[in-house]
């Protein structure tokens, strides 16, 4: 199936269109809110919450007996929120650290959820089939109403984000200052955490409990590499998230036996790796290039300074010296010498070198200039 054919299919085929739209919107919401999670150093909160949502789904089913999506989501939301606030309780009131609290809630809630799920499965006449789709997610079960739900949640998130942008931003970077300014930090904090929980719960059906945390983190971590501005980061993360959704759906649809969730996560992972390597300011590639360039410059400077030291002892600064003299010095190679010639700092005659006037002046100013730069 070629790309054009696929794009046509996205617009004509109901299922494919719904799934593509759904995963795109989900990716965008997760990217947006994930930026806050990453910057607040709550990256693993997503993992914990998504696991903690499981008993809520099971209990909602036990109480109502319905498999209707929204009921189960409300159950998931409630139990996710309970999990989140218990984590906060453990961190603030005891000496257990955040990683322990996260791991505890994650595994304990999930285990309890599993107990309930297996208990439900043993019940007679229960139409429980399909509850386990929340474990690993099944994008294929998305219907139009799900997409509408996601879109409405996304727009509410967006409106609240825009409305409280200033508060969120200041809380993110300087919580103490926010408090002294008289903002109610607790409320802002609860608001943003609740939104993160909401986004996670929405994604459970599509990518499942286990992979939800990556949906939240990966776009944000990738976006972080490209910018230092919060607004740009949130925007970029939303775009990365949406594209992960679209590409992931496309790849999984083009092959058999490929579930959507893991593919979306891997696509998001590719975004992250790409950003880690190729981001201009923080990326590993450019960092390495800058490092090598700096080292070369330093070597040139060292050679030049060494020459300057020798030239200083003579009245005529352009007095020729043997290249052999430089052999004692580590930084000297044929190419560095050639570079100095290219810059018109040094003249080569046979196997003798001499500093030019510009070369001498540059060398003399080399360290004084650097010193003034340091100051």
């Amino acid at each position: 199936m070629d790309i054009i054919e696929y794009i046509q299919l996205v617009f004509t085929d109901y299922t494919l269109r719904t799934i593509t739209l759904g995963t795109a919107v989900l990716g965008a919401v997760c990217g947006m809110l994930g930026s806050f999670a990453v910057l607040r150093k709550q990256s693993l909160l997503g993992d914990a919450i998504s696991h903690a949502a499981l008993p809520g789904i099971a209990i909602a089913f036990l109480i109502t007996g319905s498999k209707e999506g929204n009921t189960l989501l409300i159950g998931a939301l409630i139990s996710g929120l309970i999990g989140t606030f218990w984590i906060r309780g453990i961190i603030t009131k005891t000496h257990l650290k955040s990683d322990t609290a996260l791991g505890l809630i994650l595994s304990l809630f999930f285990g309890f959820g599993m107990l309930l799920l297996t208990f439900i499965q043993k019940q007679p006449n229960a139409n429980q089939a399909g509850l386990d789709k929340y474990l690993f997610g099944q994008a294929a079960t998305l219907v139009e109403s799900d997409v509408w739900l996601m879109v409405s949640v996304a727009s509410i998130c967006l409106i609240v984000l825009l409305f409280f942008w200033k508060e969120f931003k200041i809380l993110l970077f300087d919580a103490d200052y926010t408090k002294t300014l008289g903002f109610n930090t607790k409320t802002i904090d609860i608001l943003i955490t609740s939104f993160i929980v909401l986004a996670i719960v929405l994604g459970l059906q599509t990518v499942g409990v286990v992979l939800m945390s990556a949906m939240l983190l990966a776009p944000a971590a990738a976006a972080r590499q490209w910018t230092n501005s919060l607004a740009k980061m949130v925007f970029l993360a939303a775009i990365f998230g949406a594209f992960s959704g679209v590409f992931g759906t496309a790849i999984s649809a083009s092959q058999n036996n490929l579930s959507t969730g893991p593919v979306i996560v891997l696509v998001a992972g590719v975004f992250v790796v790409f950003s880690f390597i190729f981001s201009p300011s923080r990326g590993l590639l450019f960092k390495q290039i800058r490092f090598i360039k700096n080292r070369r410059d330093l070597q040139l400077h060292k050679t030049l300074a060494f020459m300057h030291n020798i030239a200083e002892t003579h009245e005529d600064i352009s007095h020729p010296h043997a290249i052999r003299l430089l052999n004692n010095f580590q930084g000297y190679t044929k190419s560095t010498l050639q570079k100095l010639v290219d810059k018109n700092y040094v003249e080569l005659k046979g196997n003798m070198w001499s500093l030019t006037k510009t070369g001498f002046e540059t060398a003399a100013n080399l360290y004084t200039k650097q010193r003034t730069e340091d100051e």
Partner: protein
């Protein structure tokens, strides 16, 4: 109790002990989430091993999975070292990616892999006794019992051999390094043990229960003691108790054994979290309330000492001028009276000699910036605490 039931409980208890030991150190080293990451990311290792050997209990499988676990740790550390993201983000990025690869590998080879993701994550302890290890025609017991037993034995041997080193490197990395124990070796040793334990236990109890068994008993024990040896002991006891009790709950509910062991662990942790003598939530809240009242009392006494005029020392004044609620002022007044710090005559409050002495000392400490001394002083002066 049939022999199968006994064997299940034995396996569960052994797993609990094998998990509690590395778990204690993980919790103390603030690396609890690493166990969660490992438990997920061993999936591709297991799948590759299974594709090669077609045997879920083959040693190669355990080896490969443990290797994936260590790769996870190395990857997380590499990403963290680049400084591009924080450690927790690095963990959160690595394990879902590896897990996804595992899931896709299973899906792609669905026809010849009798392995589903549920089984890896959740395990099925109930089937463990049916997979017997037969040596020379003699049935020597369930395979998973042997696997877990060997892992436990190795863990315990390592624990006893390197207890001192582990202890020092956990609490003071700098000291450990200066004494010549490489913290890196300790770190990777612990990570390897955690990986192997996770892998060895996963097909009996599932990845999630492994995480729960590692973290929950250790966390509960940490709320009860500050002594490493006691913490290990308590964690092991909690683990075994939850394993056995959880089995019977599962038996009674006819539900997943792993799920019910985790639930029991959760209840154990909840009880400890609420009722632990000094670090439990109730004790903490009570202490906070006590301290609030005592600080109020001190403020009140200082106020009395500073003011001689009767209008400032009227009982009603508390509500009006110091801006306290009625209940609060009553508590503070009662406490002060019970401790013989104040006298109330015609609704006018005045300091007793003891109260005066207490307040003067407190002022001295506050002026010299030794506020902590006030806590000790309270023990000398107070008959009743807030």
């Amino acid at each position: 109790m049939s022999s199968a039931q006994f064997e299940i409980q034995l396996i569960a208890s052994l797993v609990a002990v094998a998990c509690a030991i590395p778990g204690t150190f993980l919790v103390l080293r603030k690396m609890a989430m690493i166990s969660d990451a490992i438990s997920h990311s061993i999936l591709p290792g297991i799948v590759v091993g299974f594709l090669i050997t077609h045997d879920l209990n083959s040693p190669l499988l355990i080896l490969l999975a443990a290797l994936t676990g260590i790769i996870t740790v190395v990857l997380v550390e590499y990403i963290q070292k680049t400084g591009l993201v924080k450690e927790d983000t690095a963990i959160g990025l690595v394990f879902p990616a590896l897990f996804s690869i595992g899931v896709i590998m299973i899906a792609k080879n669905a026809n010849d892999v009798h392995l589903d993701v549920d089984a890896v994550l959740l395990g099925e302890l109930a089937f463990a006794p049916f997979d017997r290890l037969i040596i020379g025609g003699i049935d020597v017991g369930p395979k998973s019992l042997w696997i877990v037993g060997v892992i436990l034995l190795i863990t315990i041997t390592l624990l006893f051999t390197f207890f001192k080193e582990l202890k020092i490197s956990t609490f003071d990395k700098g000291l450990a390094a200066s004494l010549g124990f490489s913290p890196a070796i300790m770190h990777y040793g612990l990570m390897s043990v955690s990986s192997v334990t996770t892998v060895g236990a996963f097909d009996a109890v599932g990845a999630i229960l492994v995480v729960a068994l590692m973290i929950a008993p250790a966390a509960a024990a940490y709320l009860l003691t500050k002594d490493l040896k006691k913490m290990l002991g308590i964690a092991i006891c909690f683990g075994i108790f939850s394993a056995i009790f959880g089995y019977w709950v599962a038996h009674w509910l006819d539900a997943s054994i792993a799920g019910s062991i985790t639930t029991v662990l959760g209840i154990v942790f909840l009880i400890v979290y609420l009722f632990a003598p000094t670090k439990g939530i109730i004790a903490v809240l009570y202490r906070e309330k006590q301290q609030r009242t005592e600080v109020s009392l001190l403020t009140f006494l200082l106020h009395l000492k500073n003011h001689d005029e009767e209008s400032e020392r009227h009982v009603k004044h508390l509500n009006e001028h110091i801006n306290w609620q009625k209940v609060r002022s009553k508590t503070v007044l009662d406490l002060a009276k019970k401790n013989n710090m104040i006298l109330i005559e015609n609704n006018i409050v005045s300091l007793t000699q003891k109260g005066d002495e207490f307040t003067s000392k407190a002022i001295d400490y506050i002026i010299t910036n030794e506020d902590t001394q006030i806590e000790d002083m309270k023990d000398d002066f107070f008959l009743f605490r807030g």
